[in-house]
Each structure stands twice: as C-alpha cells, then as structure tokens.
C-alpha cells in the first residue's frame, strides 16, 4: 500500500511546484514548433528540482495526480481534458525510477533515466490519444520526431534541474 507521508511544509512546497508547472502553459506563446522544446526543458527541470528539494518518496506521483486533476478540470490547449492522462502515466514512470535511488532523487543517472522515460511516455500517450481517440492522422515521421524532441528536451531539463535542484535545496534549508 502506498503511504504518503508529507508534512505541511512539503505540501506547501509541492503547491509552489505545481503552480510553477501550471504557468508552463504560457510557453505555448513561442508557437507549436519551439514550444515543445521549451515545455520539455521547463517541465523536466521543475520535476527533478521538486524531487530533490522535497526529497520524499511519492513526491512526483503526488504532483502527477494533482496536475492530472487540475488538467481534467481546466482542459489542455490541444487534446482536451483527456490529455491530462499523459501527466499521470509520465509521473508513474518517473516515480518508479526515482524509487530505486537512495536517497530519493539524489542520483544523477536514475534522475536522467526517469525523466527520459517520462518524456517518452508523455509523447507516446499524447500521440496515442490524438490518433486513437480523436482520430488525428499523424505520419510515422512526425511521431518519430516527437519521440526525439520530447524525451530529448525532458532529458536536458532533467540535467538542468539536477544542477539547480541541489543549489535551491541548500538555499531553502539555510533560510
């Protein structure tokens, strides 16, 4: 049985990270060509920073569940409410990878592996919803490009998040 053991401080910090994830929607003003890069880097960074700073198991899973609930209520720009599932399934993958590292999210390799998995699953589920549920015709080459762009940008964001996360954690613990 999954046991969520968060203090009020952890919950308040998770709320701040969740808000930071929500404002990422503003990146879409960059346009549909550049936005996926920006979204991937930003999301990847925020998720890994959240995992490092809070440093407790199921942090990512909780953020994934909360983000899914919000996106079900406030639909995504393209893909509607159903696209919210991407965040939940992606979070399960990342959480599974981080679960293996001890202390939580402190290992660069598992962080990068997890965020790469998140990127792959995120795009895979999103493309599946667009093609199988909404009936969008997407050529194979476009799906393959997505499988390069999303995991690549998430990976870059994850690396950036690892570098920033430890810095931010030290600052937060000192104040």
């Amino acid at each position: 049985m999954v046991k969520f053991d968060f203090t009020k401080r952890d919950i308040a910090m998770m709320a701040a990270f969740l808000a930071l994830m929500m404002v990422a929607e503003a990146i879409w003003i960059l346009g549909s060509v550049f936005a996926p890069f920006g979204i991937g880097i930003y999301y990847g960074a925020v998720l890994i920073i959240a995992a490092i700073v809070i440093g407790k198991r199921y942090t990512i899973l909780t953020l994934g569940i909360a983000k899914t609930i919000i996106m079900l209520l406030i639909p995504d720009t393209y893909g509607g409410s159903l696209a919210a599932i991407c965040y939940l399934i992606g979070a399960i993958v990342l959480e599974s990878a981080l679960y293996l590292s001890e202390p939580y999210a402190e290992n660069l390799k598992t962080d990068l592996l997890g965020i790469l998995g998140y990127g792959i699953i995120y795009w895979g589920v999103y493309a599946a919803i667009l093609t199988m549920v909404y009936g969008m015709a997407l050529p194979q080459w476009a799906i393959i490009i997505g499988f390069v762009v999303y995991p690549g940008s998430f990976l870059l964001g994850g690396f950036l998040g690892y570098k920033l996360g430890n810095k931010v954690k030290n600052v937060i613990e000192s104040v």
């Binding site: 401080r9 709320a15 808000a19 929500m22 509607g80 409410s81 080459w141 937060i172």
Partner: protein
C-alpha cells in the same frame, strides 16, 4: 488563463457535478461521431451554454484566436496526412503539393479534397471537445470544486495541495514579472542566459513563500481536527437533474445519428 468569472447566471448556480456530466456527455458524443451535422449540433449546444453562462466572450478573445489557429492547423495537417496513411484505401483528389519536389521521408505533402473534408471533421471535434470543458472553470468557483473533491472523499492534504497551488498561480506570475523587471533594470538587453538566474530566483522566492504558508497553517492548527466542516455546501437539486437529463439527451441524439459518417 481560464479562470472563474463572477456572475449569477443559471449555470453559476448549478452544482459542479451536473456541469461535469455535461462535459463528459459532450466529449463522449464528439469522440463517437464523425458527422458534420452532429458535430455542428454539439458546437451550437456548447455555444448556447456559453451564452447562458453569461461569460463576457470579448474577454476570451485570445482563447478563441488560439482555437481558430488550432482549427486551421488541424485542417491543414489532416488535408495532407489523412490520405497519406498506409491503411487509407479511398479516392485521392490532389489539389496541390506543399513541397515542390518529392522530399525523402516526408514526400511532396499533397493537399487532398478528402483530407480537407476529414480535417474539417477533426477540427470540429477538437472545438467541441475544448468548448464544453471550459464552461466548468469559468462558472465554478474554486471553493465549489474543492467541495466536489471532498464529496468524492479525496484526502484532505490533497485538497489542500490543490487549493494552495491555485492560489500560487497568480503569485508566481507576479514574482516572475518582479524578477524580470529587476533583471531589465540592471541590463539594457536581457537574453536567454538570464533565464537560468530568473528560474533560480523564481524557485527560491516561491519556496520561501510556501514555507511561510506552511508556518501559518501550523499556527492555525490546520489538520488538528479530523472532521472538516464548510460554510458552503453543494446540493444536487432539481435544476441539476434537468441539466444532466439535457446532457444525456444530447448524447443520445448524437449516438442515434452516429452511423451517418461525414453528414
């Protein structure tokens, strides 16, 4: 951002659960049908609900502009990709090629009449799928949504997390603007290199605020009592039943006409 619009319209007075039923019915209907007529019907129903909701449509001009871009994008992409699918067996009336030459892997990207027709169906489906769910956040106060989650027996800490994150969104934008202005004051031109310090500062500012929030929760003894009460309550009344029935009737009409592909 799509946020709550204060009004006393009939939609605002409804229980959020009846609005969620409406959204689910419209979404299911839009996914199941490929008929122009039925998709137009769904868009019209959603538009009428928008009007009843007394939402200032002018305020959401940017949202509708984005929607228009998506419609055009959807039509264009489907006009090219629909007939290019390996499992496509129908006719293929080429209007023109986007690429002057046959480019390896992507081909010449031909725009076809059949693709344009399908693109129209796809775009209409996306509009229907997006228009209806927007009603919920526009006409439901966040505190009512919290009550819905509580009625669904969500853990109290998860509800607190969602409530606080909603409160944090405008605060994050405000912090972002403050930091950006401070950066601009120090430099004549700010570039991509300033994004990392910006993110770092934004994170630290947000997390410092969250620590203060946690402290105030502790001082107010939040979570001390296991049973929480609320001044406001939600009740699934007569009007909610009528609205839910209306939603099911809309879904039923579409389901009965689902066989008629392409109108």
């Amino acid at each position: 951002m799509i946020e709550y619009v204060n009004s006393n319209s009939p939609l605002h007075r409804l229980d959020p659960r009846s609005k969620i039923i409406f959204v689910l019915c419209i979404m299911a209907a839009a996914i199941l049908t490929s008929s122009y007529i039925m998709l137009s019907f769904l868009i019209i129903v959603s538009a009428i609900v928008w009007i009843i909701a007394d939402v200032p449509i002018k305020k959401f001009k940017p949202v509708f502009l984005v929607l228009l871009v998506f419609v055009l994008m959807g039509m264009l992409t489907q006009a090219v990709f629909y007939t290019d699918r390996p499992d496509y067996t129908g006719s293929k009336t080429v209007l023109f090629n986007i690429m002057p030459y046959n480019v390896p892997v992507i081909g010449s990207l031909p725009v076809t009449v059949e693709g344009l027709k399908y693109g129209l169906v796809f775009s209409m489906r996306m509009v229907a799928v997006l228009l209806a769910p927007m009603i919920v956040p526009l006409t439901t106060h966040p505190s009512d949504m919290i009550l819905v989650l509580r009625s669904m027996r969500f853990p109290e800490w998860m509800i607190l997390l969602l409530t606080m994150s909603i409160r944090f969104i405008p605060l994050t934008f405000q912090n972002f603007n403050t930091i950006r202005n401070a950066q601009k004051l120090r430099k004549i031109k700010t570039g991509y290199k300033d994004l990392i310090p910006l993110m770092e500062t934004l994170l630290i500012t947000s997390l410092k605020t969250s620590k203060q929030m946690a402290l105030s929760l502790e001082t107010k003894a939040f979570g001390y009592s296991s049973k929480r009460t609320s001044l406001k309550t939600i009740k699934f009344g007569k009007n909610d039943v009528i609205f839910s029935l209306f939603s099911f009737i809309v879904l039923g009409i579409v389901l009965l006409n689902t066989g008629a592909a392409y109108g």
